[in-house]
């Protein structure tokens, strides 16, 4: 890639910084140049986020339909999987799967609920009601 060919498109990272790209100058020597982004990868990131939004919406619907507990919703919302929830709460994976059943979730102690609330960075009340305050 030649220096003049470095894309200067818009991208989410642009809010924070431009990034270093390596390309050739007129003499075929490698130099670094700053780039504001490339639409090819900006769209790749959009695709990933669209998928996340769909998963969060599907999880929310499952909780409303009483097919899952709010843990599923917050796990998806926080981009976690069961392994990450387990790492943050200290619960075994199979325990978390059990807690994802609404009937079992409803009987959880305050103590256990607090461990989940801490992991998801929310209050117990919001955990139970699937309430989110954010940007």
């Amino acid at each position: 890639m030649k220096k003049e060919e470095i894309p200067q498109d818009d991208g989410a990272l642009n809010k924070l910084t431009r990034e270093v790209v390596y390309a050739l100058d007129g003499n075929g020597k490698y130099v670094t140049e700053l780039s504001t982004g490339w639409n090819v990868k900006a769209t790749a990131l959009d695709v990933a986020w669209k998928d996340i939004e769909e998963r969060v919406a599907a999880a929310r619907q499952k909780v409303i339909n009483k097919e899952a507990s709010p843990l599923l919703y917050f796990m998806e919302l926080r981009l976690m999987d069961i392994a990450i929830v387990s790492a943050y709460t200290g619960f075994w994976k199979w325990t978390i799967k059990r807690h994802m059943k609404p009937a079992i979730f409803d009987k959880l102690s305050e103590n256990k609920l607090q461990q989940y609330a801490t992991a998801f960075n929310i209050s117990i009340a919001d955990l139970k009601t699937m309430t989110v305050y954010e940007d």
Binding site: R18, Y22, V40, L45
Partner: protein, 338 residues
């Protein structure tokens, strides 16, 4: 408490931390491409059965941590590296390092990295930053992928140092132990050693998972994705491939351009013109990777998507595999000047 420290922006975080930390102990010859090449950073691997964010686990670079480790080892620079089970111990040790005048590298998770844009905050735990001072509650942070330095509060730094999940940092920090003089002779030996290791990694690993064979294997898999996964999921997989290839840190073209730059810089130490010719092949490979990304984008944007379009992309990777095979074979045959 502030250490005299120069922030140089780099493409990749670990290259940047390695380069900036080594420069902070007097190794002024080091640059990002040299760190990357000496540390044998370039790689390709598609790990089957493992999923990252529900997509394929593909990497264009070596395991996190290895670039710093290998570069320091090759240059004969002793390293201090510590992990912690207690957050208090981790902060205490960091304070002691700063008091003693060491800028230190920290492995952190990006999910709670407050200065990153939300779109980039996944549970990725192998980001690297340098802490070079503290003023009251604010640690001074040099994040090598950023144009400028920044700060994190005590709580914010603790939270990212103790992020959980795969590759959890466990407070890990590291720095070169003492000021060091590196001779040109040491640089030459380190460059040769790095190239040899890279050649072995890219050509020598059996099965269609890693190295140039891994690239061909991935090309063949892509041709099947449309039937196996369906249009939407195949698009997600391709988007993930492109992100691993082009996102911050790669310098463009899946690190292939940085490697081309490395070979040009290596030529200054080991003046064999073949290195310049092989550098051109890596430029070509980087360009081909970017063309493949454009093809992939056509598919995940939904502009194209027939089986033929997947075949074109698969064939592009097969071609890249051949081009890189040629490049690494040529590298393995280079006669070093005495």
């Amino acid at each position: 408490m502030k250490i005299d420290f120069e922030h140089l922006q780099s493409a990749h975080c670990e290259n940047g931390v390695t380069t900036n930390l080594l420069r902070s102990v007097g190794v002024n010859k080091i640059t990002e491409p040299l760190s990357f090449g000496i540390g044998s950073g370039i790689f390709f691997v598609y790990i089957p059965f493992l999923k990252i964010n529900k997509g394929p686990a593909i990497a264009f670079r070596t395991m996190p941590g290895l670039i710093f480790k290998r570069t320091c080892k090759s240059l004969g620079i002793p390293v201090v590296r510590k992990k912690f089970s207690s957050k208090e111990q981790a902060e205490k040790f960091l304070e002691e390092c700063l008091e003693a005048g060491h800028a230190v590298g920290c492995q952190v998770g990006v999910y709670y990295l407050t200065y990153f844009p939300k779109e980039y905050r996944f549970h990725f735990n192998a980001h690297n930053i340098i802490v070079y001072g503290r003023e009251d509650d604010q640690y001074m942070i040099s994040d090598p992928v950023m144009e400028n330095v920044t700060t994190l509060s005590r709580y914010e730094l603790e939270r990212v140092r103790f992020a959980k999940g795969a590759l959890a940092p466990r407070g890990q920090l590291y720095y070169p132990k003492q000021n060091t003089m590196v001779t040109d002779e040491q640089m030459r030996a380190a460059i040769k050693h790095g190239i040899k290791k890279t050649v072995n990694d890219m050509l020598g690993i059996p099965f269609n998972i890693a190295g140039v064979k891994g690239i061909a294997g991935t090309g063949k898999k892509i041709k099947k994705w449309r039937d196996q996964l369906g249009q939407q999921k195949a698009g997600l997989y391709l988007a993930q491939l492109v992100r691993m290839q082009e996102e911050i840190g790669t310098g463009g073209g899946g690190f292939r351009y940085i490697y081309g730059a490395f070979l040009q810089e290596a030529h200054a130490y080991l003046p064999n013109d073949e290195l310049l010719e092989i550098s051109k092949i890596f430029t070509q490979s980087g360009d081909l990777w970017r063309n493949a990304a454009v093809q992939a984008a056509g598919i995940y944007k939904g502009r194209i998507g027939s089986q033929h379009d997947f075949d074109v992309m698969g064939d592009q990777l097969l071609e890249i595999s051949e081009v890189e095979k040629k490049a690494f074979q040529a590298l393995s045959r280079v006669k070093w000047p005495q």
